[in-house]
């Protein structure tokens, strides 16, 4: 598998590390992992760096994950890069909002590395 540059956006530093660990356990060959504590930080990173995969929480202070997603699309940042939301919000409505905002995948916390593998690997391979 080719080397992946990932951006993980979550206001919890612990959760960013857990997501990174799950990606590695899922078999992703992570070359670089950029971390952002909010959507605003995530946008700043995307303006300066190229990435191959974005994973974002939804519930975050300053700028939530859905607004972050809409801004990525509005500013045409990271075109063609798959975005996967990882969140405690699990209702159909939240999934629908995420997909309408431009997410390609959705993982509910708590999660297993197997779920991460099932939902992220096909997107990375197709990108």
């Amino acid at each position: 598998m080719s080397e992946i540059r990932a951006l993980i956006v979550d206001d919890s530093a612990v959760m960013r590390k857990i997501v990174e660990r799950a990606l590695r356990q899922a078999g992703l060959n992570l070359m670089v992992v950029h971390e952002a504590g909010s959507g605003i930080e995530g946008l700043d990173i995307l303006k300066a760096r190229e990435v191959d995969l974005i994973l974002s929480d939804i519930n975050m202070p300053l700028m939530d994950g859905l607004e972050f997603l809409r801004e990525i699309r509005a500013q045409n940042l990271a075109p063609g890069v798959p975005v996967v939301m990882i969140t405690t919000e699990s209702s159909e409505e939240h999934v629908k909002q995420a997909i309408l905002s431009g997410a390609q995948g959705y993982i509910r916390k708590p999660f297993t590395s197997e779920q991460v593998k099932e939902r992220v690997l096909p997107l990375v391979n197709a990108a």
């Binding site: 612990v14 857990i18 660990r21 202070p61 405690t88 699990s90 209702s91 509910r108 708590p110």
Partner: protein, 161 residues
Amino acid sequence: MAVSLRDSVQLVSDPRNLDASVEEVFRLMLGVSCRRDSGPVTEDLESVTAVVGFGGMLSGACVFSSGSSAAIEIAAHLTGMEFAEVDDIVKDGIGEICNMLAGAWKGKVPDLAAHCGLSVPAVITGRDYKLHVQAPEFQLHHFYRFDGASFAVTIVCDGLQ
């Protein structure tokens, strides 16, 4: 048609939903099996409490509480790291545990999942403090244990539409 949780208060307040949520979060994220316990056995003076608020059709909070040694053990299982004290990483980890418990609990009832939002977690540490809620609609307060760690999870509902 307007949605009302008042008609499904029995479902929302079903104590089995809380037990299932705790079991799910600890099994998937920590790889441990939790069981209900009769009461707190911690001798720690220091407490760690995380609070995630509910807003929308249900208002209230999910509250996680433990002694400092249990918080350290939970954070160690969650992160794969070792901790000597309740530092910022432990507090962050306990906040995330509470966040996932709140999300898993509300996810057990579809109308609740769709019409109730979560706040970001707040974590409090200290000694000799108690949580008081005046006249809640309902309250669930359960103790759990795994290995040597015991903790409590409380769901407080102070408003239901």
